[in-house]
Amino acid sequence: MFRPLFLIASLAASAAMADVAEVVGDHILPRHQAFAQAAEDLADAAEESCDPRELAPAFQSAYDGWMGIQHIRVGPVEEEGRGLAISFWPDPKAMGERAQRDLLQGDASRLQPDSFAQQSVAARGLTGLERLLYPTQPWPSDTCPLIRATASDLARLADELRNGWADGFGPLLLSAGETGNTRFLSQAEARQLLFTQVVTGLEYIKDQRLGRPLGSFDRPRPERAEAIASGRSLRNVALSLQAIREMVAALSGDATRTLAELDRAIELAEALADPVLAGTATPQGRLKVEILQQAVDAARQEALAELGPALGVTTGFNAMDGD
């Protein structure tokens, strides 16, 4: 009786480590590689041409690449403000646009790579490029130099994320619990970190990507949706859900209820014919977005109920219940 039990326990332990390795190897690293490649292609395309129509496909691909990793909010992305420099949204005070106007009118040397990397995070990245490629109002001067500087800066950031994971944070996560690793003192801590990305990623979709345009019934705020100008508000939701689904599947093959809830949310997102979530302004359209939002929340709750216990972790003791 004793022996088989012991065997099961040790198998479970090794399977758990394989989960972290799978997430890093099959999800995080390839997705970072894809984003870095797409951002590099965009920078190359911008050198060829500044014409927004010609650049749009490369911009859309790079944004797709970002949606493959945006739910991962730890590691190199949280250092040096990289995450915000790639996407500064929401931006309720229009800090990005103001900073870009200033860059367009001021000293052109600020567009040189070293100097540009020091400019406001709000002015840069995909959100900055979107305003230049899909302008909703005229800019005060030729935007071409700023487009090129922003695209090249974005490629640098994406490259730093990829290398940061491949050479630094990935190995750190995989050596969780080993002597000398003071960031992750056990394998459970590595699993907890990845699990937390699933939960907060779904929260972000629910509260920000869907919650901001929904506003309240009395005051819907369709203008607050993400990436309206480039027509990506709903696409971002769908792609991010797909990426989170891939991460959950790599974390635990047994989280069938969580995967089913995610599939349902993805299906709803793909079936919704409301690319910029403008329907949030009408009672009918709003209902559909709310149903999607509820499905995202159901997936989040299922992750907490099923996936967390399966991994032997919770979200933080203090993080979820402050005072």
Partner: protein, 352 residues
């Protein structure tokens, strides 16, 4: 019929000093936590060792340590219907404090320097008007209360002159379930109460920061107040979560660069000031501790999941997280002190 032995024992008892913190190992700080399904209060050394552990009936929030005797007052989480006076020598509950009719404890408390009085942050259950409860520690009888100067007081600290600094968080909560009732109209403030309970100074934040709840405090040797905030407004807005206050002057806010500030996720859970003036604020939601210089300028951010408890330790800090780990830290980094402890709760309470 006194025997020689009982005579000597009686003599020893007469000359025995009152028990002190030294009798329980001279802890550097107290921390509540959860170990399995048990809630506990530990006394911890500056090296991260547990010196004693006492069972609590439920999840604790903060504790107040008697300045001399090994007594700790553990406050229940909000809405607090009780506080326990614990004898850290034997773990017994010496007194069970209930707030007056219609009042609720609101998380924190502090003893007077001579240990004869305990002050507790409280709210009137209906409306959350702030009160400071006053207790005589000889029997822990309630002897009165003062107005705290605002709504929803949370942390309070005692200055060397016996006056109090109160963080009136500004949030009115439902008396049964903690739900927040007045986010649109909240007006947090810092109040300086004289030793006899009069409002000497009261400072508010600029109107655009009225949703920045002032919740936790750390005092410097020079009398300066460092305060930590929790943002109840739009999470997309980057707001300062640390401020400095010299009563009589306007509070000074300490915003880090936006890219750093966002790592806190709008939430500072604890604050501590080291002997050299360094200030730490923690964010369990962002999984970071930020270290600032004495003027509030950001020096470093260190990542650690669910880090929250913070107490001064010489020129650095002691820090605890929800994974049962205790760290020492300063602007250069975090160093592991001990692990496998309970899931440490929000606060580390330094003994004076």
């Amino acid at each position: 019929m006194a025997t020689r032995r009982s005579f000597l024992a009686g003599l020893a008892a007469l000359t025995l000093p009152m028990p002190s913190w030294a009798d329980v190992g001279a802890p550097a700080c107290l921390a509540a936590g959860k170990q399995g399904e048990r809630f506990v209060l530990h006394g911890l050394s500056a090296a991260g060792q547990s010196l004693f552990a006492i069972d609590l009936p439920g999840r604790g929030h903060a504790a107040a340590a008697h300045p001399q005797r090994p007594l700790a007052v553990a406050f229940a989480r909000r809405p607090g219907t009780f506080a326990l006076v614990l004898d850290c020598l034997d773990g017994s509950v010496r007194h069970r404090l209930s707030p007056s009719e219609g009042r609720q404890f609101n998380g924190h408390g502090v003893f007077s320097a001579d240990g004869r009085t305990l002050f507790t942050s409280e709210v009137v259950a209906e409306g959350s008007a702030g009160r400071i409860g006053i207790w005589d520690t000889d029997g822990f009888r309630r002897i009165g209360e003062w107005a705290s100067g605002g709504i929803g007081p949370h942390d309070l600290k005692r200055r060397d002159d016996g006056s109090l600094i109160v963080a009136n968080g500004g949030i009115a909560t439902d008396p049964t379930d903690r739900s927040k009732l007045n986010i649109d109209s909240m007006r947090p403030n810092l109040t300086h109460l004289t030793a006899d309970g009069h409002i000497a100074q009261l400072a508010e934040l600029p109107p655009e920061l009225s949703r920045n709840s002032i919740r936790h405090l750390a005092l410097g040797r020079d009398g300066r107040v460092a305060f930590a905030m929790q943002w109840e407004g739009d999470p997309a807005e980057v707001v300062p979560l640390l401020g400095l206050w010299q009563p009589g002057q306007a509070p000074v806010l300490c915003p880090p660069r936006p890219a750093e500030a966002m790592r806190m996720r709008g939430y500072a859970g604890s604050i501590a000031m080291a002997a050299n003036g360094l200030i730490a604020i923690t964010s369990p939601r962002g999984g970071v501790v930020m270290i600032h210089d004495a003027d509030g300028a950001h020096l470093a951010t260190h990542a650690r999941a669910d880090i929250c408890g913070a107490a001064p330790d010489g020129d650095g800090f002691l820090l605890t997280d929800g994974s049962g780990v205790m760290w020492s830290g300063d602007q250069t980094g975090l160093r592991l002190l001990s692990k496998d402890g309970p899931a440490w709760d929000n606060h580390l309470v330094a003994l004076a």
